[in-house]
Amino acid sequence: MKKYLYIIKTQIIKSMAYEFNVYGNIIMQTIIMITSAYFWRALYTGRSVVDGVDVGSMQIYIIISSVLSVLLITNVERRIGRSVEKGTVATDMMKPISLFGMFLAEDIGSIIALIFQNMLPILLIGSLMIKIPVMADISDLPMFVIAVLESFLINWLIAALFGMTAFTTINNDALIQVKKHLIRLLSGSIIPIWFFPESVSNVLSALPFVYIYQLPLSIYIGRGDRAEMISQMRIQFIWLVILSVLFFYVQRRITRKVMVQGG
């Protein structure tokens, strides 16, 4: 455990090193957030409630989605790719520390740095320039926190699984892009899937992506009753279990393959 804490700390320091990235990211994310807020305001012109959500809730949805996106940044998929490309994967696996444990620790370290560098500034800017994002029902807070933690894990596991395709195609850049687009467009991060036709949203509800963004965000803005939220959290948990099992299975197979072939 101490080893991992050390990696987390090192990664925090590393992430702090580039001040320009910090300011650049804040500026870009602010532009995106404000554009999105205006986007929804324009769409809602002349309408008060669409699909059970009013424009004010939609503004909060946008702010919290921007904030959440900071927690959902992963680097594990590229780290695996690089390790395979450079041919260091066998020696990396031989180290007295779990390879994926190390990647997870690194991602957590980066995120902790980002909470201060990006998340809090974005939250502040959003509150000042758009709306103070008050939670719809504060008694849902424990549920929200659990949903966010699970969405972090689901997102990380999907990234790691896509990253492991590096062992088959050598250069997995394009597949990482596929993953990025799937999450960007199908998770409700930009446009909630309740605006999609029912058949489409039914299909998407069966996939893990909406449980990354849309579920915690729905809880935050209080869309749907508690029973509905709980049933969705149940599906989120089932996806977490499925992806974990898949992850450990694939990881073991790959480790065996690498150890036999020596990378």
């Binding site: 554009t35 892009q177 596929v178 467009l185 199908l186």
Partner: protein
Amino acid sequence: MSKLFDTLRHYLDVTGQEIKIAFMTMIEYPSNIVGWLISNPLQFIMGFAIIKFVVESFGEINGWNYGQLAFLYGLSVISHALSMIFFVQGWFMGWFVIEGDFDRYLTRPLGVMYQFFFTNINIFGITDLIPGVIVFIYGCAKSGVQVSFLFMVQVIIMLIGATLIRGGIYIFLGSTSFHTRSAVDFGQYTQEIMDKTTMYPLSMYPESMQFILTYLIPVGWVSFYPVSSLLGIDNGLSGGMTTAFITLAVGLLVMFLAGAYFNLGLKKYESAGN
């Protein structure tokens, strides 16, 4: 004059070689072709479907119907694809700066910016062109425009202008890394902002934002103004060739300014390992 012509011929000749090399490199990694052929069209087909869903939920967007939005989206994706082919390296300029990759361009007797973009020409960008053209044709049919020869000439001139605007913005953002010496990749953010501002009508945003996006960061000229003119949507623009040439002029201006900023940055270039 003949010297200028000769220089142009030289650059075209080298460009031909660079494209040949880009294809040879691409063929070395066949699995990548498949990957991009899935990834890029998927992104835009999904993106386009989402616009359809939004229109179904909210009706017209700021007076633009579905056919007009499809036309706007198609034209925007085509210029995006062209900018991906020629200028995507701007997103990664920081890496080139830190790794000292400009050394090579600086010791060769050609323009540095030309070499930076054309030695790294991204043939895979063609995979973005496919969904763009499909949606554009669909948009032409749905919006009921008359596709004449003159119309096509206008579209082509506008696309050149739009591609230059996008490219200029990427170069501008990338060139900041000469000053900061850090490898930031603003690609995803840039694309997200460009998507929001070029795939939906600009007129839906507040006037202050419209002003900025028309005169300061002229993203409005990438798709909104050209398409308004082509579809005859009234916002004080004259139809016909005028708007096409304004778009091209804006593109050339943005590219010129971005090039000047790039050259300024190049003077601060420090190579690697100092």
